[in-house]
Symmetry: C2
Subunit: 246 residues, 2 copies
Amino acid sequence: MVSRGTPRFGRLGEASGSRRIHGAIAHDLGVAIVSGVHQPGDILSGEIEFSEQLKVSRSAYREAVRILAAKGLVESRPKTGTRVTERSRWQLLDPDVLAWSFESEPSEDFIRDLFELRLIVEPAAAELAARRRTEQDLVHMSAALEEMARWGLADAQGQAADQLFHNRILQATRNAPLISLSSSIEAAVRWTTIFKQRKGKLPRDPLPDHRLLFTAIAAADPAAARGAMTELVHLALEDTAMSLRA
Amino acid sequence: MVSRGTPRFGRLGEASGSRRIHGAIAHDLGVAIVSGVHQPGDILSGEIEFSEQLKVSRSAYREAVRILAAKGLVESRPKTGTRVTERSRWQLLDPDVLAWSFESEPSEDFIRDLFELRLIVEPAAAELAARRRTEQDLVHMSAALEEMARWGLADAQGQAADQLFHNRILQATRNAPLISLSSSIEAAVRWTTIFKQRKGKLPRDPLPDHRLLFTAIAAADPAAARGAMTELVHLALEDTAMSLRA
DNA sequence: CTCCCCTTATTTGTATGACAAGTGGGATAA
DNA sequence: TTATCCCACTTGTCATACAAATAAGGGGAG
């Protein structure tokens, strides 16, 4: 059933969900599903058989399935078994599902769709931030921007600062669901963007555009903030497409 | 620890996740968390103790916790126990989390934020639909609209047709992540809107606005489609706010 | 007295085996 | 042929035992 040889052990870091066995299984199975190894409609082999193949207990395997079911990837019923649900029912914007998607060379279409969504949401978020940011928010953004400039964008610290800067902007929108959505997407995309540094360089230095965005938000200029963020997302799209094609 | 008396049995229908015990526990615990009974930082009593209180096996309880953890509501580690994570890490847009939120009288703020997000996403979706809809899409939308008109909006069949109509529009965007996002939100909101029919009536008959939206999409007029959808979301906001206040 | 390491108790994680419940499909009878 | 019932198969639940992780407290060295 499962075609992978016998990985068993999750990757190295990955922070959350790889240490415990059920997390590792969920991860591997999740990747196998989003990458098309198990296609919608496919029925996974029974719990006993599958768990024996993986050499884990049925409990651990079942907990993994519960995780996947919670994200809409599978659905299990007595007698029928556990089947992969159709793609339209997957929680594509769940952070884990996104991460799994980007781990296995997502399709061009998916990238396009995702950035289309970003181009809808993030400029609007920037606009809200420009309207609602407090002085405190500006202090935070500015600090992150400084860090970004100090370390450079090739550096890991610089990447972290970049992420922090964008997060500060989201916080300024004071909209929890919007923050939840955007940070999920940004985190997933940024994950892949790390590789871009190795092969080839950036299409263009993004720092000036970041400063422009900050200036617009500081000036409480919604239209300018929207425009600057739109530009940044476009840049990110080029980066991502480039790093995935290479 | 758990303050609820002894429900044990989930509600009546609810379709998914209430039948099996682990689903019921996840549901009850999920509601308890989003409604603030267990606040972020709180540590739930140990697995043995908690599962005994609920009179279920430890396995069933653990599977429930896995579900909640997959949605970011809790986080469990050895020795420390299972603690409710801070709200910023919750997957607020997960269909189940949304449903649980609406089950327990969500705060005004949350409603406001959610509709703010809808006002960002859905008009944009309508715009995309106007650009990309095929003749086939129009046939589907038209059929749903007819059903809506036939049954009326007070009827369950009419509600279903309404939902179908909006879903057809989303399908026409050809953007899977956007579909995933919008349908989650719409489903959750519509769930509450069912109650509105009982007490008080609608602010205004929404059917003409629906027809306007359809016409705009059929005419491939993105700007008009955006405007019409914006109007519809505003209407929905009034409905929802009204039904929750009452 | 302070700091560090190490032991230990506690909690989650995994394993195993047995039984209950549900359900699709085939056997059976009209 | 059609409808009904029964059965085998799969997931769901339970109970118990043990392993692994780790926060906290205690003891020893400086």
